[in-house]
């Protein structure tokens, strides 16, 4: 599934959150969107998912504009938000049943889809527990599971390892590594190593502008880009 942005711009009052961003993500590609907090990554994602309208420019998913047909785009994508953006009071199976139902799945198709993601994300031991009682690592697995329930051709993952301990980070990264190549994956992160290990191509955003784009290993080893990124996240070079 191809995602294309042309001169995509978003303003919030006087603040320019995204400045004429143009990029293209090819079908089946694992694409990393890198940048410090406030660089414009989430703004871009919100426009791709149809949650936010662009101020200028266009974005399309498989040729469909999320601004004009948000539900058509949302039916084709799975969205993994940062941890804790779930319903802590719901049990894992109830939550997955809700998301599947909202996606239009019912009856045996829903039961099969739930069993499939429970197995894939190794949630067997947690299905009857409230989400709020799970560790952050398991909560992120639940978040991933809901995004894959309807087997979407595009998956967007926003800061998948934010707030996780190193062991949980490694687990989630391992899961994401296994998902590459079968569908288009957009990964938003401010973790250089995560982007390098999971994405085949990356774009680096800074203050809403695209400052570098290309092969992950090449871009992230380019001294200038690396310095620019490190300075934007407050790391001394």
């Amino acid at each position: 599934m191809r995602v294309e942005a042309i001169d995509l711009t978003r303003r919030f009052g006087d603040h320019l959150a995204l400045d004429r961003l143009s990029l293209s993500i090819e079908p089946g590609e694992a694409f990393g969107l890198l940048g410090a907090n406030g660089a414009g990554k989430t703004t871009f994602i919100r426009m791709v998912t149809g949650c936010l309208l662009p101020s200028d420019g266009t974005v399309t998913v498989d040729g469909i504009s999320p601004s004009a047909s948000p539900t058509a785009v949302q039916a084709r994508l799975g969205f993994v938000m940062e941890t804790s953006r779930l319903y802590p009071e719901l049990r894992v199976r109830s939550f997955l049943r809700f998301i599947g139902g909202a996606r239009g799945l019912s009856g045996s198709a829903l039961a099969t889809a739930i069993d499939r993601v429970i197995e894939r994300f190794q949630l067997e031991s947690t299905v009857t527990r409230p989400i709020g009682n799970l560790s952050k690592g398991f909560q992120q697995r639940v978040s991933l599971a809901q995004a894959f329930l309807h087997d979407p051709p595009l998956v967007i993952v926003d800061e998948p390892t934010g707030g996780l301990d190193p062991l949980q980070q490694a687990e989630v990264q391992e899961i994401l590594r296994g998902l590459r190549g079968r569908r288009t994956l957009i990964l938003c992160t401010h973790d250089l190593h995560e982007a390098e290990s999971l994405a085949s191509r990356v774009a680096v955003l800074r203050h809403g502008r695209l400052v570098a784009e290309g092969n992950a290993k090449e871009v992230l080893r380019e001294g200038e880009t690396l310095d620019l990124f490190r300075s934007s996240v407050g790391i001394e070079t």
Binding site: R10, F12, R46, T49, G50, C51, L52, L53, P70, T71, Q74, A75, L77, F79, M81, E82, S84, R85, L86, Y87, E89, L90, S94, F95, R97, F98, I99, G100, G101, A102, R103, G104, L105, S106, P130, Q146
Partner: protein, 263 residues
Amino acid sequence: MTALLALIRKEFASLFALPTAYLTLTMVALVTALIFFDHLRIYNQTLFLYATTTMGGFSSDEIPDYINLWDAVFFPVMETLGLTLIGVVPLVTMRVFAEERSRGTDELLVTTGLTPTTIVVGKFIVTLLFVTLMMAVSFVYPATAIERGGLGFQHLAAVFVGLSLYSIALASIGLVCSAFASSQLVAAVSAWAVAFVFWDFAWIHPFVSEGVAGFLDAICLHLRYGSFAEGIVSLENIVYFVGVVLVALAAARFSFDLRRVGA
């Protein structure tokens, strides 16, 4: 329809997974009981006063017409219940949208493909059912007064319909406030404020023209609600309450568009 049913099931599960729902139902039952028995106590004391030998004994001729179960218990209970519901209903509605927003699940909801209209309708249906349950809990006492007052089933039904419509209108106001607020506290306080303003405009009559006063009376909750308490079910009042609900739902739906624009 599958999506709507899934949302309704999830809303019920979320609502009853937290103590708020049980506490609200218990609070409504307790407050209604307190209001009812307090008025009943006053009524009994008044009766007892008239029944004393110095007042002429138990002869009914000695008891004025206005000392009756209807005027001494039922109407004051309904009046106080109307005000109590303004306090209670926003406690139920404050979380409906504001909680989703404060914990960041609003975008999860939207990106699952649920349309804003489905979300608003689903959440409204659950709120409506909960408020009706609340009414069933609180209606026991007014029903007792009506039954003992010998007013019959039709009057009872009219009062229940009025009470439910009034509560649903309050819930709709609460939903709109929740849809536009980012915090539950702001949602509750703004719903209280709006509901109190719309409760009764009589205080403003001396300051406005007769035409404006008539218009304000036409949109105030108290007079519409009071008419049901008298056992009158008029189409005009039903249309009024249904209108409040529809305007509120449209406003809540509009809040989704505003968020997409980023306002």
